[in-house]
Every structure is written in C-alpha cells, then in structure tokens.
C-alpha cells in the first residue's frame, strides 16, 4: 500500500454534512484511497468529484428524511400528479378562448389546444414509464414535466389568453418536483393511488357539472376549492392516523404521503387566491415543520450518543 495525499478527497467529502462525515467519512475515505491506488490515481477523478458532490448535496437536502418516507412521497406525487394532469387534459386541455378586448363577432368559437397539454402529456408519459418499471426514465420524464411546467407558466404570463392559469402549472410543477424525491418503484401502490384519486376527481367534476372544454379556472373554482382540497387533506391525515394506530405501517405511510401532497395542493390553492393569508399559513407550516425536524434530528443525535456504533474508532 502506497501513501497518497488524502487532502483532495477530504476536501471533496466536505460536500457531505458533518453528521454524515462523522459516521461514514473515514470509511469512505479509506475506500476512495483504495480505489485510487488500484487505478494509479493521486487525486479524485472528475466523475468521482461530481458523484461525491451530488450525493453530498442529496444527503444535505434530504438526508433528514428516511428513504421510505421519501419514496412514499414520490409515489403519492406521481399518482396525484397524474390524476391532476388527466383532469386538466380532459376538462380544460381544449377550450374556447374568449378575448374580452374583441367584439362578439371577432371571437373564435373553436376549441383550441392549451399549452398546458404539453405538461399533462409529459405527466402521462412519466407515469406510463413508472408502470413499466423504467424508474430512471420516469425521473427524466418528471424532470422534463417540471421544466415544461415552468416554461408554460412563463408563456402563460406573456399571453394569458393562451392559458392555463398559473395555479395549474405551479401545482403540476411542484408535484413533479416532489415526484423526483426518489425513484418510484411501488408500481401497484402508484397505480392504485392514481386510479382512486382520478376516480374521486372525475366523480366530483361530474357532480359539480364541470364540462369538457371549460377554461382551466373552472376546475379550481368549482372542484378543487380551498374547502375541498382542505377536506381531502384532512380526511387523508385522519385515515393515515387510523392506519398508524392499527399498526398498518405501510398503508399509513402511503396514505400519509398522499395527505402531504394534498396539503401542499391545498396550500397552493390558498396561496394563488389569497396571498396574505397563504403567506401566514406557509410560515406556520414551515415553523411547525422546522420544530419537527429539529426534534427528529435531536432524537437521532441522542440515539447515536446513547448507542455508539459497534466497532467505531
């Protein structure tokens, strides 16, 4: 075994948070040096630096969230996003655009495709890829969905008549980003959640007589109202709690994931219509979440102190 200056690797490992470096830093460094020596390198390769930076960033941003929670959230996001995309595509994908600046005879009475269909279409592709088990390709499609969501949002700001309403693109983009939290591998859970959510939303669209070809705000004003989204989120939290009490942990996690997503949809609905109240609501949620994360991290740290790792140096 030759001696290699480990400084560049130690520097690259700084991408990880201190708590991770305390647990794995020295073992990782040993492995990195073993590999470098075997390959005759005296410094980290470019790919190695990128991988460490990327992995470190993921641990910093999402490390506090257990992988199962991340996966449950990603699954619920994928399913809910598909249901919302289908609702948008079916009910508002094609609509008549009434330009208030023009007289009645100057209006185009034909149904016109909304640019939001690009986002909805990408959602559908992402979900099909998930069902086919192509988790990596699905992540690429979800990233494309989020990018398209931002692009369509900007386009709709420049030409509001082209639509869809900002709340539609914002919701689909946020949910697509949440779908990137982890690869979605629970295909059955994703399919069941998507089918149930789509069924509920279709039923309510029919109940509130939202017809095909309505402008995108109809969905938000008549079905996905503050009250409805809030009720749905609360009902899901209640069900998750019941499942947790019944010790059906996997079910509780799945329903809890859907509850988080609907809480976010409710917050977006709140925010897009009433900015002042929503800001207070978001601040309250962030405060509660911060306290929760702080307690969780303190508990984890205390656990490590009480039960020191076997064989740790």
């Amino acid at each position: 075994m030759t001696t290699i200056d480990d400084t560049p690797w130690r520097r690259a490992l700084r991408a990880y948070p201190l708590s991770w470096r305390e647990r794995h830093g020295e073992a990782m460094l040993g492995t990195l040096l073993d590999e470098a020596e075997a390959q005759g390198r005296e410094e980290p390769s470019r790919g190695e630096r990128i991988a460490l930076m990327r992995s470190g960033l993921v641990v910093r941003v999402l490390g506090w969230m257990p992988p199962v929670t991340r996966e449950a959230l990603a699954t619920a996001s994928a399913a809910t996003g598909l249901a919302l995309a289908v609702m948008f595509g079916v009910f508002s994908g094609f609509s008549t655009r009434m330009d208030g600046r023009l007289p009645a005879e100057g209006q185009n009475p034909d149904l016109q495709a909304s640019p939001g269909l690009i986002v909805a279409g990408l959602w559908a592709i992402a979900f099909v890829l998930i069902l086919c088990g192509a988790a990596r390709a699905a992540r690429i499609a979800l990233a494309a969905t989020a990018t398209a969501g931002v692009a369509v949002f900007i386009y709709a700001q420049l030409d509001p008549l082209a639509g869809p309403r900002a709340i539609t693109t914002v919701t689909l983009t946020v949910v697509a980003l949440l779908g990137l939290l982890a690869p979605v591998r629970a295909r059955v859970a994703a399919a069941v959640t998507a089918a149930v959510t789509t069924g509920i939303l279709v039923a309510f669209h029919l109940f509130f007589e939202v017809g095909v070809g309505e402008p995108s705000e109809a969905i938000w004003l008549r079905v996905l109202t503050e009250e409805f989204t809030g009720f749905l989120a609360a009902a899901l939290w209640g069900l998750a709690l019941l499942a947790a009490v019944a010790r059906a942990r996997a079910v509780a996690r799945r329903i809890g994931g859907a509850a988080v997503i609907w809480t976010i949809v409710w917050l977006i609905r709140f925010m897009m219509w009433d900015l002042a109240t929503a800001t207070l609501g978001v601040a309250a949620v962030i405060a509660v979440a911060s306290v929760g994360v702080a307690i969780f991290r303190a508990g984890a740290r205390r656990g490590r102190e009480v039960h020191p790792r076997e064989g740790a140096a």
């Binding site: 073992a27 492995t31 790919g47 991988a51 990327r54 992988p67």
Partner: protein
C-alpha cells in the same frame, strides 16, 4: 419486502453472502458478480450501505485501520440473509418460467426454409 429489489442492492447482498467485506472489496466483488456490468461508485456504495443498515439488512462487522486507512467490514444480518434468500427464490421462479416459455417456441426454420 413487498417492493422489487434493485439490481445493485441484489448484487451487494450477493457479494456479502459469503462473509463480511470492506468497501473496496465490495466494489470489486459486485463488479465480478455482475460480470463487469455494474461498477459501483464509492458515493453510491455508501448511500446504499447507509440505507441497508437503517433497514436492518446489513450491519458493521468490524473496523480496522490499515496504514492509516479505515477499513469498515460490513456483513448481512439474519434479516438480510432472509431477504436475499427470498429474492433468489423469486428470481429462480421467474427464470424457470422464462426457460419454459423459450422452450415452447417453434424451432427456427433452416436458412431459406421460410421462403
């Protein structure tokens, strides 16, 4: 486990099946077991080890310091052994079914026979 086991996880557990290994040995072993198709990055390896340890599939067997470098040996827990055995049985069923179906295919006609 109700979810499918990812290929790198399966390869890592397979590599650990015959005893504890340290990080670089595990990378080499996965490379060998996969016939050179999967070469784990160190960052990926430790992210997976951290997850598997939290799930109770593996545990730290021991740590050694060799010429200043820490070598952490990991091993399968009894739960991990059970999980690997379950996955092997599941894959065996699939492979047997694939073989059976392939054997049902009509033999390919000889060159020019399809004309």
């Amino acid at each position: 486990m109700t979810q499918e086991m990812r290929e790198p996880t399966f390869l890592m557990l397979t590599a650990l099946a015959d005893g504890p290994k340290h990080g670089y040995a595990l990378i080499e072993e996965v490379d060998r077991v996969s016939d050179g198709h999967v070469r784990l990055k160190v960052a990926t390896l430790y992210a997976a080890l951290d997850r598997l340890e939290k799930e109770g599939t593996i545990r730290i067997a021991r740590e050694e310091r060799v010429q200043g470098r820490v070598r952490r040996y990991v091993e399968l827990t009894p739960d991990g052994v059970g999980l690997l055995a379950e996955e092997v049985a599941r894959r065996e069923v699939t492979v047997a079914e694939a073989r059976r179906r392939l054997s049902l295919r009509p033999a390919r006609p000889a060159f020019g026979g399809a004309l």
